[in-house]
């Protein structure tokens, strides 16, 4: 689904990603773990070109996203992203957060007042459906500042879902949460996993990584040092760096 070919990212002299070649297949749930500064967030952010790669290709839907001529906005509609800091639109209500992008993008494709009104109704109904799913439909007209961290992150996840993406990227989705709110967010991600959503997750929650992932990448120094099923990576780590890492975090 996403082919990463020789991906390099440099900030000045600092090499953050050092020529990564990897494929993420449909239906896979790739979990990326590794120490701070290993390049895992940068790798994830390169997949939808939130960070522009220094060199290399990201092939998605038959096009190279790293190519500046490609209409990146169109492809990003199919690649959902969930941030560590939630990043809900502060000036929009919970409902508007979810409907904004589908509406602004969808309305360009339909002509006529009636058709647009119908589209708007459809999008709103779908947003309410998504909010019901996470039990926050009563909060539809509230602003994000009144929500708890866990609620914000769940809204952020359904905001990504509202675009019907083919894959969702999670950038440390629980790192900014109070411990007691981590569970509700992980539950939602788990549900999506069970529904077969393709996802790439950067996380520090090793238990979650082991449970949800179909494949685990261990990154260090801008490279994927080791990868395999959760059983292989967590149960039988081969490289010394990974063994040290697991000894510290497990």
């Amino acid at each position: 689904m996403i082919d990463v070919i020789n991906l390099t990212k440099k900030y000045g002299d600092l090499t953050v990603l050092d020529g990564i070649t990897e494929t993420i297949h449909e239906g896979e749930r790739v979990v990326i773990v590794g120490p701070s500064g290993s390049g895992k967030s940068t790798f994830l952010r390169c997949l939808n070109c939130m960070e522009d790669p220094t060199s290399g290709s990201i092939i998605f839907d038959g096009e190279d996203l790293a190519d500046m001529k490609v209409d990146i906005n169109r492809h990003r509609q199919n690649i959902g992203m969930v941030f560590q800091q939630f990043n809900l639109f502060n000036n929009k209500t919970v409902l508007e957060n979810i409907t904004l992008a589908p509406w602004l993008i969808g309305r360009k494709k339909v002509k006529g007042r009636a058709a647009r009104a119908e589209l708007k109704a459809q999008i709103t109904a779908r947003a309410h459906e998504l909010l019901q799913r996470i039990g926050l439909d009563d909060w539809a007209d509230k602003y994000p500042s009144t929500l708890s961290g866990g609620q914000k992150q769940r809204v952020a996840i359904v905001r990504a879902l509202a675009m019907n993406p083919k894959v969702i990227l999670f950038d440390e989705p629980t790192s900014a949460l109070d411990p007691e709110m981590v569970g509700e967010v992980l539950d939602l991600i788990r549900q999506l996993a069970n529904e077969g959503m393709t996802m790439v997750i950067v996380t520090h929650e090793m238990g979650f990584a082991r449970e949800v992932g179909t494949r685990v990448f261990f990154m260090d120094g801008g490279n994927i040092m080791e990868q395999g099923t959760p059983q292989e990576v967590f149960g039988n780590p081969k490289c010394e760096r990974l063994q040290n890492f697991l000894a510290k975090v497990l």
């Binding site: 939808n48 939130m50 500046m68 906005n73 169109r74 492809h75 990003r76 509609q77 690649i79 959902g80 992203m81 941030f83 800091q85 939630f86 990043n87 809900l88 639109f89 502060n90 000036n91 929009k92 904004l100 992008a101 602004l104 993008i105 602003y143 994000p144 500042s145 009144t146 952020a156 905001r159 990504a160 675009m163």
Partner: protein, 236 residues
């Protein structure tokens, strides 16, 4: 002349229906027109310039636009507004062969001038919005400009509202120079009263009072606007 006499002379002239009509019907209205329309034009220009200024500069076009904006801001912040008024009214417009009317010229020049200042205010406001807001907009597939206009700028405006209020207040007071190009504003009408009565103390004091009341009303209006825009925050 003693104070009471001065007041009587002034009041006799001022309370005349014709004078009242000129002071409030022409002078005050023109002052407000120039300041408010000037600010509105300034906000539009300022937002555009600020957007160019914070745009990523990979491509050639944003770099060229950035230079143009720098020259614009440099000119309008680097010259006094009186000079800009005179240049536009007596040099630039006649050279172009357009006659625009002095009031319209004043509105235009104040708009262009305030655009330069508002652009810097707005740029600060945009930078004060968390970069995650832009990222979130881009991540769902919205373009840079859509995210800017729908998400970032509305939040920036809320942050800079007190400073924009300051700009409006400054504009209201700066309008007192438009008589250089023969626009009848609040200042001009009171000066005229002085010219007629040969007594300037009372007209100028009274004029100061009107400016103070005007500015106080604007401050109140801004406070009210701020409160209504803060409804997406928990703080009140």
């Amino acid at each position: 002349m003693d104070i009471v006499k001065m007041w009587q002379v002034f009041w006799e002239k001022f309370s005349n229906p014709d004078t009242l009509k000129i002071v409030f019907g022409t002078g005050l209205i023109n002052t407000l027109l120039i300041a408010v329309l000037g600010l509105l034009i300034g906000i539009v220009i300022g937002t555009l310039i600020a957007t160019v200024k914070v745009m990523p500069k990979y491509k050639l076009l944003p770099r060229v636009l950035d230079k143009i904006c720098s020259v614009y801001v440099g000119f309008f912040r680097g010259t006094p507004i009186v000079v800009q008024l005179l240049l536009t009214y007596y040099v630039l417009l006649p050279l172009c062969g357009v006659s625009f009317g002095s009031l319209n010229t004043a509105i235009l020049v104040f708009g262009l001038n305030s655009g330069a200042y508002v652009s810097e205010i707005m740029r600060g406001g945009i930078l004060s919005v968390d970069s995650g807001q832009m990222e979130a907009g881009r991540a769902v597939g919205l373009s840079y400009s859509t995210t800017m206009m729908k998400i970032v700028v509305p939040q920036a405006v809320k942050n800079i509202l007190p400073t924009l209020g300051n700009e409006l207040i400054a504009l209201v007071k700066d309008t007192s120079v438009v008589s250089f190009i023969a626009v009848v504003d609040l200042y001009k009408t009171f000066q005229e009263i002085g010219n007629r009565t040969y007594e300037y103390l009372m007209p100028y004091l009274f004029m100061a009072l009107i400016y103070i009341v005007l500015v106080a009303l604007i401050s109140l209006g801004i406070k009210w606007m701020e409160r209504s825009l803060r409804k997406s925050d928990r703080r009140n």
